[in-house]
Amino acid sequence: MRHENYDAVMGNDVDLLKHPVVSAAVGTAAMAAGAAEAAYRMAEKVPVFGPLMRRSVAGLSERGDQWVAQSADQFAALVGAVAARLVNVVLDEMDLNALVRERLDIDALASDLDIEAVINRVDLIALADRVIEGVDLPAIIRESTNSMTAEVMTDVRTQGERADDVVAGIVDRMLGRDRDNR
């Protein structure tokens, strides 16, 4: 099943964060950042080199700002496209229906639905009209009437024929005739 696969691949967020490799990497990064900050503070305090470096850092950040301002839109578009594709891929990979079925209590949702409000919004008379329009009522009535009439007619004829035979039998007996000799 797809969603079982999904769980296995994604793993658990908490487990992932507690993994020793991750902890070690984060610790290293934090140390590096702290060392860089300390080095920068110290360099700033050096008499000639300090202001020079401060200026160049200001220039750098200015250029950085410019670059960010220039390419922010492009970058945003790029990120948006990548994110959209990523979401698509993820959605393709996941069986959303199964996911919803598994994670959502649809019965509870349905029981909370205000059906009265929905019905109030529907024009029931117009709906009924459309339904009746779809049903060919005259044809149904015609058909049933026709078959009923045909049945009654057949019945009348059969009964008449039987009555004929009964009367003929009585007359034959009265006249002392052999019925089969007719």
């Binding site: 009348v156 004829r157 008449g160 009367v167 007359v171 007719r182």
Partner: protein, 157 residues
Amino acid sequence: MIPSEPLPDAERAAGIITRGVAAVIDLLVVLLIMGALYGGLVLVRLVYSPAAFSLPSLNAVFSTVVTFAVAVLYLTGCWAVSGSTAGAVTMGLQVVGRRSQRVGLPIAFLRAVGCVIFPIGLLWVLVDRRRRSLQDIVFRTRVVYSRPVAADNRATS
């Protein structure tokens, strides 16, 4: 007397009950036609002389003759065209010739006249071995049950 030929099972001759009921229905039809004619006459008189209107009292002889004519026309037409009057259709009967499945117009006319003048002749069906009325004997016709199956057989044969 024509020697009796064996009748196929699908074309059994009709008995007195069905034919009697059919005759009663036909009588009702003729009376309905007469009523319609009378109503039409009343309406025509009302249109032409609305002021001096009174229900027309009809001559007995005239009425009888018209009734006779209507009945003969009705029976002749029905028998010549389809072999079945309204009553015969209701009871599932058909008048057929001795050889063919249709009654010719002259025979139909003569049979109609005979039936209207002497309707009691129908009672001969009771005692006749082949269930013929006096008119049937005279004009060599038969009245048979018309069944859809019989119609199919006739169409294929």
